[in-house]
Symmetry: C2
Subunit: 386 residues, 2 copies
Amino acid sequence: MDYKRDLRESILPFWLKNAMDYKNGGIFTQLDEKGVIYGREKSVWFQGRALWTFSKAYNLIDPDPEYLKAAEAIYSFLPKCTDADGRMYFTVTEDGRELQKRRYYFSETFAAIGCAEYYKATGNREALMAAEKYFDVAYECYTGVRQTQPKINPENAPLKALSPVMIMLSTAQTMRSICKENQSKYNRIASVCLDEILHGGFLTERGLLESVSTDGETVDSPTGRIVNPGHSLEAAWFILLEGILSHNEKAISAGKRIIDITLPMGWDEKNGGILAFRDINGQPPVQLEWDMKLWWPQCEAMIALRLAHLLFDEKTYAAKYEALKQYCKTHFVDAQNGEWYGYLHYDNTPSTTLKGNIFKGPFHIPRLYMIMSVLDEDGCIERYAQ
Amino acid sequence: MDYKRDLRESILPFWLKNAMDYKNGGIFTQLDEKGVIYGREKSVWFQGRALWTFSKAYNLIDPDPEYLKAAEAIYSFLPKCTDADGRMYFTVTEDGRELQKRRYYFSETFAAIGCAEYYKATGNREALMAAEKYFDVAYECYTGVRQTQPKINPENAPLKALSPVMIMLSTAQTMRSICKENQSKYNRIASVCLDEILHGGFLTERGLLESVSTDGETVDSPTGRIVNPGHSLEAAWFILLEGILSHNEKAISAGKRIIDITLPMGWDEKNGGILAFRDINGQPPVQLEWDMKLWWPQCEAMIALRLAHLLFDEKTYAAKYEALKQYCKTHFVDAQNGEWYGYLHYDNTPSTTLKGNIFKGPFHIPRLYMIMSVLDEDGCIERYAQ
């Protein structure tokens, strides 16, 4: 794969050509194999994520005015995705009326990085302020200053989850690189999140757990035993990046350790690819898609393996990276119509031919291609993270 | 399959032996291939459903004291699954403390039929009162007298769903057969629900839709285009049963019509079995499990086909019933350890070996086996429905 060429000629054009809504603003993501829209409900996650993707591509890869035009259309749609309390919806109608508002605050974190990168592309101070506001709302939810309705009664199942910590780390990393006036704030938050991932109980000898008790103990339940290998490997490269940027050798070792414990359980020895879920005791995962191959864990694993190969002189990382790259090229990439398929059966046949839905849009794949473009050119992840 | 023998020697013993909690009361459902408990969180759906199953088996198949003992243990656990407002939880801890409370009221409908059948087994008037109370709570949610938080903003996506209507019809049928003092009430509700399924917009030429607009129009969206063939065929046999019991020829024709439009889209021509989801336009269903074979749609399809075969002199129903019975025997039944697997890949290999989870426990399979026991003996569904 020629990442830079494919990003510019296949991946980004697939969305630019088929998904943009220049009438209402925003972007559609429910696109079929050929890019035809099969659903007009909009994912709020993907307003922020696509804003980030087009702005980042403009800043890092190619100052193509079409990227900026798309970013502008999405940026203009964000106020409609935002409720009066500053929190965002999860889905909206094509013209931006609320469909679903959830307890989670991923919409806000993605809007924060989208606005930040858009500010970098345009110098628009209003976008910078929006980025900081969305970040603060998300962080208030994360710390509990803003209370969100818990899904499970916390008195009777006092659990904490990995995903909010991971996303706050990654979001703080992006904010730090752009919002220069508040660097110490984002540095501190990144540091706190890093510490929580490494010392909050999630990191065990058998895997980086998705959920542990609020006091950091492993819980022997289906939820407590679950590892999401794609998440683990994504966290690993966030941590490696943090180690590189903050010259923290311990973080770099921890990131390596996470890769080393995740690969044996996450890699499908029989058919290849990274599995969706594993139970650390080998008991049946309750997620029906547990043995499917989803697109995004492959992307995150490729980044983790490539970074590990650059940092550590171990052939196994290069070999696994090459194997996974070949696997994705063979099974996920749709060279004819552009983009990747999203969901393969256990045996690598496509389970569905859709290219996008509420959870799949222009994010993990363009991020992979952008990082790989940079690493293939000079091996300098700092240039990506600026 | 010898349904009556298998019910008594394989299906019910699997749960009686492995799942009963005689310490706290109630039943576990998270059981692995061999019946080992892998999760101790309890499904409230399955407290009501298993109470129904063991009581019904006691009343209809065999007055085995072990069935009654299990039913008693589950009945005694129901108050712990019930919140102060009369609504039930979705999941609880093994000792009956709230984990999750949801907007849906299926827990209440299952508790209603469980308590009703338990009353029939024991003559315990308190159980009859509990049955009527749970029914009333569910029906108040159904009619909107009790407001539950909608998932999607109804102003911007005014949709109504098939599943609450189906479940209220089936629940009213059971209540009517047992709560003799309120037969006219349950008759009226069954009649209203039947009318809503047949004339509320769900029944189209292309399938029985899972969701339509509140004014009964087909909505061209992923949600609006979805058919769940297992649901459709389950609704079909509820409707056939209602037609038989109320001597309603139009209902019988409508039940037949639903089977006839559902089978061509629901049957997997290549690998056999009933698929989990289809989009009526052939666009990609967004449900990841769309092409998996779940256990319960096969059960509901077998009942619908067997009833259709008895009612209508068409060889195709008998042929499809026999094919599906053989399919289930080959791919779902675990003759060695008892019970059925629950989830097969598209190609009929097991996706997981678990025998139970929050959604799979002793209900669809024992119900199938009980109905088939009756039909194989005398072809008289009225005897099952008494």
